[in-house]
């Protein structure tokens, strides 16, 4: 009987686990000296016996009982219940986060409004210091359920725009367009839709926040999903 080379490689398994006859063991040891492939494979799996020794005698519940682990029965009964509980918690934490964001937006809006009433008339005589960050919630256009939060951050070079959006289309490209006071629109960011419909991206424009008239989130076909006026 001839021993093909594949047959010899295959002995690696029983070499690691044990169970080869003495002749087979020395034959494989001999083969191992000259076979780079088997040496490399042995290097990957030689730690297994030490790990197998960690398992309970007889290799744990999966080797001693045919089905499932010890926690299985209760698990089946409560699995969907647990999913519901988990999603409730996700919803609770998300609402908490959103409340916080809205609160920030409301506070900023209130400050801007009060500031505007006070400072509006004097804007051209002495400019007030630009607020460093303005949060804007972009309103979805009719028929689109997207949620978009924008944060305009004043930078020396222009405006950084942090875009936080949820319930977006899940396919195609999306872009944030910035419209300046003269009505000119430029792209400030573009990104690929994600399967979850969530994205957080950061865009940039050379326009200072005061020169931004509105912002729009559009699809790659030019459809406007949400827009915000500053």
């Amino acid at each position: 009987m001839t021993t093909g080379s594949d047959e010899r490689h295959v002995m690696l398994g029983a070499y690691v686990l044990g169970g080869l006859s003495d002749e087979e063991h020395s034959a494989f040891s001999e083969h191992l000296r000259t076979c780079g492939r088997c040496q490399a494979e042995l290097g990957q799996v030689s730690g297994l016996p030490r790990l197998l020794d960690l398992a309970a005698p007889e290799g744990g519940p999966f080797l001693t009982s045919a089905v499932g682990g010890d926690a299985a029965p209760r698990e089946r009964a409560t699995k969907e219940e647990n999913v519901v509980r988990l999603l409730d918690e996700v919803g609770r934490r998300r609402r908490h986060r959103r409340r916080w964001l809205s609160a920030v937006a409301a506070a900023v809006a209130a400050v801007l409004f009060a500031g505007g009433a006070w400072l509006g008339p004097q804007l051209f005589s002495s400019s007030p210091p630009a607020p460093p960050t303005t949060h804007v919630a972009a309103a979805p256009v009719a028929g689109s359920g997207v949620r978009v939060d924008l944060a305009l951050v004043t930078r020396g070079w222009g405006t950084q725009i942090d875009i936080d959006c949820e319930d977006m289309p899940t396919q195609g490209e999306l872009a944030l367009w910035v419209v300046d006071r003269s009505g000119r629109a430029v792209t400030a960011a573009s990104w690929h839709a994600t399967p979850g419909g969530y994205s957080r991206v950061t865009g940039a424009t050379a326009l200072p926040p005061s020169q931004i008239r509105s912002l729009e989130v559009r699809t790659d076909t030019g459809q406007v999903l949400a827009s915000a006026r500053t």
Partner: protein, 162 residues
Amino acid sequence: MPLDEDAVAAIYREHGPMLRRVVWRATSDANRVDDIVQEVILRVWRQAPDTDNLRAYLITTARHLIVDQHRAAGRRPQQAQLVDIAERDSALDRALDQVLVEEALGRLQSNHREIVRCLYYERLTVAETAERVGVPEGTVKSRAYYAVRNLRAVLDEMGVTR
């Protein structure tokens, strides 16, 4: 950006049972299993990790949570001996690895698992295993070969790298 509800539910459905087994057997505290598993998935929800090995990420997160809680529970008012903590942590690591190895064995094909049991845990020879299982010796050898490779792959996937 956190994951959406569907993604969270999918993670729970796919990995929840494994996590529950791992956490249950590592903590032996049935009352805390669901809380720990939920917290693990909520952390992953919040962090939305960009990983191609979510299973290992979940297990690592669970390990951190269990270790943290274990330490918090074991903190004593008097100066804790560092040696104790190190010993306890390494015992806990061993316990977790044990659970993960058992979990990995559970994920093997049953005919591969059978071969591991016969050759490794029962110390049978290839010939005895062939007789026990009722297949030729060549089949035992090739199953042993694929069992070893698959076991390594499953353990890698779980983040057990040693």
